[in-house]
């Protein structure tokens, strides 16, 4: 798995792609248009994310978590 560091070094949210169902809840609630969702591929656009956490709260299956390291880029 490849990790991509947050550009502004403050991105703290990670989507676990192996567990993700690609349902789009997080994309719908993201106020910053910071989540890219393709057929079976999802990642956070780090320069847009503000760590507001709404995606974490809205994930029905707990695959979005805090991670101080950075974000998983598929």
């Amino acid at each position: 798995m490849e990790y991509r560091q947050a550009k502004n070094s403050k991105l703290m949210i990670e989507i676990l792609p192996d567990k993700c169902d690609f349902c789009g809840c997080c994309v719908g609630v993201c106020p910053e248009d910071a989540i890219e969702l393709k057929e079976a591929e999802i990642f956070i656009i780090d320069e847009r994310c503000t760590n507001c956490s709404k995606c974490i709260w809205s994930c029905p299956i707990e695959v979005i978590v805090f991670n101080k390291e950075g974000v998983v880029a598929k």
Partner: protein, 390 residues
């Protein structure tokens, strides 16, 4: 594939297909772009719909009907069960969405629309301020395609509207975050939709068990994002299964989001219209979005087709009011009722169930049940009166 289309529809779910079909009926060129490799899959839905919601658009076909519904059963937190029998007109279905969506797409193609799957739309083209086409990725190649009108039917995860400058993101408190399993050997009545309520079951939402024939059932729930701050939908689902059906064979597990709110303030702009979940056209009370999405899309498709035929693209902007008159206004009332129900305590749910059970089974009409329920919540009375009396 043409070099340019009159209308490009983003997404080939029920709303996308209906937008494409009704536009094509006007004799304009239409292309649907679907990001997944199949139309109708993956399914993100409880699959229940009223008969009337289907019949407006497609002849019922046993190939995509898994169960015929004639009863609703509401289960209060103290396990009091209230059953309502509907007359035939209110009868419903549990669908096989995989086949249903596919058949709907076929009706669009029959009218002349084209479909391209695995086409991921990732941007819009503009002509001054007017939307004039899409940017999309197909087979690893980035491409552009011009269109006079773009119809965004890109679902709960919609981004197309945002790119056109519309405010489309949904407040996390209004997002019903859902998860569902399809399980075998669930011995429930095959003609009844079961709804469970209560703070331990599905706070700010409901839990459902919908039969799919042969004792297979869709079992799932939605909770608002506000609840998700503390406990996720999957934790409620696991608790329920452990309590009611431990060891059940799970055939499928899915997640999904239902934008359970009123329609967006603006669902059209120069060169673009939003339909279905992307426009937030879901019935906010039931969370049902297939029928209302198809209705919204049929209106948008017709107006878009007319706009092109008349060579008067501004006509597209009449879609907002047309939708509002047909269902949008009603959804505002449903949304207020939903917010009232969100605040019900378990005790209130139990009291309502006990009151309704005092009405003889054959006299339990939906209107009467609502009136009884409302004795416990008078502030909702005016809103409900608008739905059932006007």
């Amino acid at each position: 594939m043409k070099e340019e289309y009159d209308i490009i529809v983003v997404g080939a779910g029920p709303a996308g297909s209906m937008a494409a079909r009704f536009a094509s009926e006007k004799g304009v060129s239409v292309l649907m772009l679907e990001k997944d490799r199949d139309v109708g899959y993956p399914v993100r839905c409880g699959e229940a719909i009223s008969k009337a919601g289907v019949e407006e658009f497609i002849e019922p076909d046993e190939r995509w009907i898994t169960a015929h519904i004639t009863k609703f059963s509401f289960i209060a937190p103290d396990n009091t069960e209230v059953t309502l029998q509907f007359d035939t007109e209110q009868e419903g279905y549990v669908l096989e969405r995989r086949i249903f969506d596919y058949e709907l797409a076929k009706t669009a193609v029959k009218e002349g629309a084209q479909i391209l799957t695995r086409a991921y739309v990732n941007g819009l083209l503009f002509d001054d301020d007017k939307v004039a086409g899409v940017k999309y990725e197909h087979n690893g190649e980035q491409k552009e395609l011009k269109a006079k009108i773009v119809i965004a039917a890109d679902g709960v995860e919609s981004r197309v509207g945002r790119w056109a400058g519309l405010t489309t993101h949904i407040d996390f408190r209004d997002m019903e975050c859902c998860t569902q399993i399809t399980a075998a050997e669930i011995p429930v009545a095959q003609d009844t939709l079961y709804f469970y309520f209560g703070k331990d079951i599905a706070p700010e939402g409901y839990f459902w068990v919908f039969p799919k024939g042969d004792n297979i059932a869709n079992i799932g729930l939605g909770v608002s994002g506000m609840i998700g701050k503390k406990s996720s939908a999957i934790s409620f689902l696991n608790n329920f299964m452990e309590k009611h059906y431990p060891g059940a064979s799970v055939l499928t597990t899915i997640a999904g989001g239902v934008p359970s709110a009123i329609t967006l303030d603006k669902i059209s702009a120069p060169g673009i219209a939003l339909v279905g979940d992307a426009a937030r056209q879901v019935n906010p009370l039931s969370g049902g979005g297939i029928a209302s999405g198809m209705i919204g899309a049929s209106i948008a498709g017709t107006i878009a087709g007319d706009a092109i035929k008349m060579n008067k693209l501004d006509h597209l902007l009449t879609y907002d009011n047309a939708w509002r008159a047909r269902l949008g206004k009603r959804h505002e009332i449903f949304n207020r009722i939903k917010e009232g129900i969100f605040n019900f305590s378990d005790e209130k749910f139990n009291n309502i169930a006990h009151s309704i059970n005092k009405i003889p089974f054959e006299k339990r009409t939906l209107g009467r049940v609502f009136r009884t329920a409302l004795l416990n919540q008078p502030s909702l009375l005016i809103d409900v009166a608008k739905v059932f009396i006007v």
